[in-house]
Symmetry: D3
Subunit: 227 residues, 6 copies
Amino acid sequence: MANIQVAFLLSLLMALTFCCLTFAVDPASLQDFCVADSNSQGFACLLIAVKLNGFACKNPAWVQANDFSFSGLHNPGNTGNPFGSAITPVTVAQIPALNTLGISLVRIDYAPWGVVVPHYHPRATEIITVIEGSLEVGFVTSNPDNRLISKTLQKGDVFVFPVGLVHFQRNVGHMNAVTISGLNSQNPGVITIGNAVFGSKPDISTDILAKAFQVDKNIVQQIQGKF
Amino acid sequence: MANIQVAFLLSLLMALTFCCLTFAVDPASLQDFCVADSNSQGFACLLIAVKLNGFACKNPAWVQANDFSFSGLHNPGNTGNPFGSAITPVTVAQIPALNTLGISLVRIDYAPWGVVVPHYHPRATEIITVIEGSLEVGFVTSNPDNRLISKTLQKGDVFVFPVGLVHFQRNVGHMNAVTISGLNSQNPGVITIGNAVFGSKPDISTDILAKAFQVDKNIVQQIQGKF
Amino acid sequence: MANIQVAFLLSLLMALTFCCLTFAVDPASLQDFCVADSNSQGFACLLIAVKLNGFACKNPAWVQANDFSFSGLHNPGNTGNPFGSAITPVTVAQIPALNTLGISLVRIDYAPWGVVVPHYHPRATEIITVIEGSLEVGFVTSNPDNRLISKTLQKGDVFVFPVGLVHFQRNVGHMNAVTISGLNSQNPGVITIGNAVFGSKPDISTDILAKAFQVDKNIVQQIQGKF
Amino acid sequence: MANIQVAFLLSLLMALTFCCLTFAVDPASLQDFCVADSNSQGFACLLIAVKLNGFACKNPAWVQANDFSFSGLHNPGNTGNPFGSAITPVTVAQIPALNTLGISLVRIDYAPWGVVVPHYHPRATEIITVIEGSLEVGFVTSNPDNRLISKTLQKGDVFVFPVGLVHFQRNVGHMNAVTISGLNSQNPGVITIGNAVFGSKPDISTDILAKAFQVDKNIVQQIQGKF
Amino acid sequence: MANIQVAFLLSLLMALTFCCLTFAVDPASLQDFCVADSNSQGFACLLIAVKLNGFACKNPAWVQANDFSFSGLHNPGNTGNPFGSAITPVTVAQIPALNTLGISLVRIDYAPWGVVVPHYHPRATEIITVIEGSLEVGFVTSNPDNRLISKTLQKGDVFVFPVGLVHFQRNVGHMNAVTISGLNSQNPGVITIGNAVFGSKPDISTDILAKAFQVDKNIVQQIQGKF
Amino acid sequence: MANIQVAFLLSLLMALTFCCLTFAVDPASLQDFCVADSNSQGFACLLIAVKLNGFACKNPAWVQANDFSFSGLHNPGNTGNPFGSAITPVTVAQIPALNTLGISLVRIDYAPWGVVVPHYHPRATEIITVIEGSLEVGFVTSNPDNRLISKTLQKGDVFVFPVGLVHFQRNVGHMNAVTISGLNSQNPGVITIGNAVFGSKPDISTDILAKAFQVDKNIVQQIQGKF
């Protein structure tokens, strides 16, 4: 009898584990808020967590002020990397209450001449303001115009990068620069052109990239090697 | 062995309970309907219910006509309270089939001179019609105009309170009045100004409210004492 | 003790089974994709699957290229039926990755003079193109105009059926015809007028249909008998 | 010279008239409200009115309480017609402030045994409540089930017809009946099955309808003749 | 003849002026961007501007980088007012390119003990970060709980005010404080409770407010007198 | 007098021309359809056309079946170009009735080994099916994984490219290949990585691109020279 029970429990566990999905909910709120439930990421996940489009909601009775907050956005990021920039995001991953609410912030630090290389956000427009320093910023419109709209921003300037368009920032001063941006998604997503095109895992065929950028395959391979 | 099993079952139950979230889905339907599943509120909830942005769907094969209906909207509410009004909502809490369908009804009864005090619905526009009696109704526009748009309604009149704006109703006759409203959310939410500002738990600092309403702190405390 | 355990397990199973809901998520993506998790349809369903407005997401780490694909749309459907047409859908039921992405395809084959009888899609506009043959197509506008907008299409022609409007297609050539359509929902839904009105289970009252179509009840019953 | 001027003015007028479009805006409000501007329907229309997806907004400074209201919903409609029912809609056509707000009401009167024949709303779910009398109501689910979900409602009962599904109402009492419904669109649209299928202008081919309803062409022609 | 022409031109002008509406478009972009066209506010407005739900788009060929930017967010606002706070918004009114893009920023300055009194945004969630100083912030949930969720924030802290909920901020330090917030609407709207309830034009009936706040009418009148 | 009139008319015309905007509406339909009005592109445009987020609607009474159709999708495109591919779109620019309906089609022809180089659609998911030939297709997920999900498709295979992700296609056979895709936007937009990054007008700073792709500036300049 006991053996049967153990077998039963094991199969129950296996079934539950097999079911281990992960939920995510949509931004159109149907209640005051839907704080993302972090339990869906832990051991309990083995039993019932299910991935959704967004996250499941914590029981509102258990919600605390801390679920709505994050600390440390005043701390400079570490710009000691090849790009000379550091990104500190505050999305639903940092503040679970952002789930279903459709907004996030990001702080970026730039060493002198540091760059945030061309990238785009598939799910958000970005509105950026310069807290310190001066920056060259720009974005490129879609086909067929591919017009570069750019500007040099000073402290206190604000600029907009429309959703889905490739954009970049560069510190054009000899001092560190800092920006804060708002983005209208709980999880804007980032697609860095270099990473997506030359650094995918596995690589996109050299032949395709050679045609795309109209260069020799060995230059493509040389760039792929860097990523 | 049995002890181990009991311990195992208890830990399983604890884990499952810990996981007890609650689902809620978004209003953009992806099937004919998604009747809210009431089991997610009972004992079974201990095992798998998860809170969502909305509710999980009952298996369509088990759906009955009763899931789409509610009885008793012809019954007068009890207006024997300080406001002289009574609210009978028909939202997703009363009709589970309203889940994901984005609409609800409400009946309101008003004793003579009864009032529905200033409040707003964060998720719905309200369209109200007078079944019996005559009412003064009004709403206030946002900053900076804060214009009051009001009207006295008679039987058969219809009026609109735009989403998110503060509004109120008052019976201006010597007889009972009755209204029926449609609201375009399965769960419109209600924020009564008095409750939110003077009756929150815990209280908002007296100092803040004294500044907000430009009155002495003791008047603020006096009002807070009533809620 | 063992009996208690068995009883406990059985009640656990019953509770879990009772809970067996089914999830479904909304089309506004909050991540790159949310591949529908097929496990929510199998035995595991007995334990935790929950029906949602859409589907739960497969763990992105387990996603494969096959989750994004379907094979066989070049195969003619079997038009050996009273309507002389065959429908091959490619919706979220065929490609789980379509979950939350809001699009689907359908291939339709038409025998000579084959018909797709009047129907509508409650959740999608359809854009159709003729791969082979020539077709008469049309749709009817809403009340009060009920205007028929129709056209005979040749190979390479494209036509649009707006969301929610009754439309039809008929092969007007002596050869087989083939069309491919895009529809902007992962699950457009199909409501065939004949089935919904004369073939519902149970039947709509003969009296109501006799009034609706202004015919004798026995004609209504005759038509109902065919469905 | 004068002739040239006249010619110029005439061509100017012609061009403007030719341009006479009509605007309509989307339900996601970007301000407190956007009262539909009725001037776009008058003479001025000759000069600049443009049809939109919705309507253009009246200058908010000119908005009046009357723009938010309608009178007469307590008046019975005239049920002296073959269906024995009368529909009194309160949509954006009756209350211009409903523009962009996504809701409307409708009153329906039913003579004894009066019917609202099978129809659907492509853009709204309907929540109906019985003010007087008793009604049989029902709707049919989409393919492949085509399940009829129906119920007899008494005074004070509420029922839901999900968006896009075919539904009907019938007075099953010997007295007049009255219902009020909320619908979550400023312009829900109505598609009456009989009108759309047998009463379109011009007619759908007899041949197609004969196949659709599996009846002789002369029965189809007989029904078409009634519409 | 000339008189006729002058009369004609005048009536043309009158008609055009009469038509002077103002356009506004919805946030779901259908192109890279839709920069709000400022001409609809000037003299040209007399001729064709029409108010919309949002704004009409500037011809993309005429768009400049300046349409995407704003300067001066580093400048402290003037907190010399009864509330001791100053608000510097950057919405579609300041950056026309924000039209249809669904995001905005705001800088707030707080004198020591300065307050942003209880208010809400009907169309946006706010994510706030403290640039300088320390602040008490809080929001209140909807009926029936009316729970106050509050926290004291330090420099670098981030907090979220969910859409439609009443919230406030207070400088709890002896130095000036500064915050920057992102809001997910091009035009979030602000409804200050005090202004809407006690400062509307015209006033809400004293009787209604006395009931709402359960105080004497003369206290209501005293508060109304301040606004 | 005549001179004054001429001057007046000229200034009127100038004002109107200055106003020459262009309307565009949002995809959430508020009527059966909103056929894009082509007059807003012609001479009449000088007088009243206004750019919108989408397009203004043609008067429904003037709508024709041709507004819903397009011919020629069976015609091979000309693949005699460096990429060996040709794109034939059917968007709102080709079928005005697609305005507000949220869908479009595209045919692509591929010469042997022809490539559609890496690109993305900011506003649409693409579902592609192979009509002739065999293709290698793939897309890359967002940061930080940048996983390439790819597959070789045969005739009759269907594949999905999620909205906003970089993807590509390559003919891997010795014969011509043909695909047809559905995209869930009336105007999906195309951003070709090469064009946006190396071919913008004006160029993005060589310095930024050298950092982005971790190559020498002269290689960047060499690539920029090709675009």
